[in-house]
Symmetry: C2
Subunit: 345 residues, 2 copies
């Protein structure tokens, strides 16, 4: 099926894809004929297109309409034919403004970037921050929040702050809390959260033999706070952009499915999951994407990192008929920009 194409076939496929990306209409042989570098008549193009259809790269919505690329066609295009366009310097400049003044917290940076990217690309932009847990703890503090609640504040390497409320029966004096605090800090600093959890588990086992009440309490509070791991933050910007796409506006069912997906955090997480670990950009086209029930969207995503470790991923969600040659460099650049901004914190 997905054989390698000769030069002409490749050029025709490329032109069909690009025209379809631009117009969202089926593309006819005449149109391609005019665009070909080598002058060929529509009739010849028709033959070539028929071949491409046989190979599964194109299809016809109905007899005697032009052709549109299939998922496989887009895939071939992205893999082999895409002329990676240079990022416009204006776009680059604009994006660099994420480093703007008032932005202090790391998650503000990420959010900012997402908003910008959605504006530039005219697609919905999703950022996931899911790897807090890979960052080492810089400090951990327990604060009294109310008589029966304690607040744990964790500051991670690189500007991330997380807090959690823990329920606890009252009866802990302030100085005791402080003691517990320093116990925990001693144990925690330099570890990642999962490492800390492990450590606490171990200590708890040992601690049965010892009799330090506060130490036991410290371990207990720690394990409570770390009981469920944090699934990660998801921010979506530019949802309204999906209405720019005629294919979505014309089909309310698709629209519904997409908007619903946006409301489910874990759907989004699954969509961007594969991008997380790798540096390279990921493109999943239509049915390729890991979420069933969303066969009409493509996701272009890339992980970003902080120092050595992966932090999360950023991606654009749009129709299969995306302008990959523009969108891929955009996402790529934004992700690397994020990484470099986050590095210096």
């Amino acid at each position: 099926m997905t054989a390698v194409l000769d030069d002409r076939g490749a050029q025709v496929l490329r032109l069909v894809v690009e025209d379809y990306i631009e117009t969202a209409e089926p593309v006819g042989s005449r149109t391609i004929s005019k665009k070909m570098s080598q002058a060929l008549s529509p009739a010849t193009i028709r033959n070539i297109m028929a071949d491409l259809e046989e190979m599964g790269y194109l299809c016809q919505p109905h007899t005697s309409a032009g052709r549109i690329p299939t998922g496989t066609g887009f895939r071939y295009y992205v893999n082999y034919l895409l002329a990676r366009r240079q990022l416009a310097s204006s776009d680059r400049d604009l994006l660099q403004k994420v480093t703007g003044e008032g932005v202090v917290g790391a998650d503000e940076v990420v959010r900012h970037a997402s908003r910008l990217l959605s504006n530039l690309s005219r697609h919905a932009c999703v950022v996931v921050i899911s790897r807090f847990s890979h960052q080492a703890l810089r400090s951990i503090s327990l604060l009294r929040a109310s008589t029966d609640k304690i607040l744990l504040v964790a500051v991670l390497q690189g500007g991330w702050v997380q807090h959690r409320l823990i329920e606890d029966e009252p009866g802990l004096a302030t100085d005791e809390l402080e003691k517990i605090n320093s116990y925990l800090n001693e144990m925690a600093v330099g570890l990642t959260l999962p490492q800390l959890r492990m450590r606490i588990m171990n200590e708890m086992r040992k601690e049965k033999a010892r009799y330090d009440r506060l130490m036991r309490k410290a371990l207990m509070l720690g394990s409570k706070a770390l009981a469920e791991s944090h699934p990660g933050e998801v921010y979506i910007e530019g949802r309204a952009n999906i209405l720019e796409q005629p294919e979505f506006v014309e089909d309310v069912q698709k629209l519904k499915r997409i908007l619903h997906a946006f409301e489910e955090k874990n759907v989004i997480l699954r969509l961007l999951d594969s991008a997380l670990e790798s540096e390279a950009i990921q493109v999943s086209i239509g049915t390729e994407n890991p979420v069933e029930g969303l066969p009409d969207i493509s996701v272009v995503s890339s992980g970003y990192h902080q120092g050595e470790s992966a932090m999360g991923s950023i991606g654009l969600i749009g129709p299969v008929r995306m302008d990959y040659s523009r969108v891929i460099p955009l996402v790529e650049y934004t992700a690397s920009l994020l990484s470099s901004i986050l590095e210096h914190r």
Copy 2:
């Protein structure tokens, strides 16, 4: 124009509104005639409807179609005709689940409620938490976040936690920070954030005369952290529900405007602003709502409070053709539920 109606006129208006809410189609005289308690022929109904049209309560999309209520018509209906339906006990039960187990933080409660309300009503639900600043501080803590950043964590009365990063040149020893901490706490506890800001401003003026370096530092950090006031959190759930409404699906322009509004925090804040202070439910119909450019939506909202002071508001956003008799009790009950849950924290 908006005169008081006699019994018959009122009943006709009510029936038209209710039928239109149900069907989203223009309502004809025959339909009303059949539904009237007092048996009247379509012809008579037509006369009455013509009167109602003259008074501005109804209008015809075109000659020889049925009639639909105008904004004023809906307003009259909501003010005088609405039979406030009892809340289904199943709905009530479901809503009470917000008190469910694992929910510890106050904002989780709020979010939970919002999600439930959007599911029950099949509309988009918005919650605003904007009155942190009315809550007294329970404690305030400064933590070292990195060499040049300090984290301020404020725990407010009633389970709200806020943190802010402040940039600061390095050079503060840990014990100095702790000293500053206790200065601030002494000053802050029991005050609201704006009160604290005021107080700090005052102290700063006085402090010029004195020479305590740390105290000055404390004031400086405090004023930095409180420089811009927190605008408030906005959560929106059930955006996809707006696609349930035929009037929005048929007109992409409306859809775009609404989705865009959802992306602008301050638009949402303005929409729900009036509900904030008052206990009573607010209904703003179509062009009545405080945001221009959204003449096709209605907002049903209510403030919720914590103890004495207003905390925020919760509301549903839907088409003008909303089922007010169902939606109003829903919002009302949810708001009061929120208030009572928040009270006990």
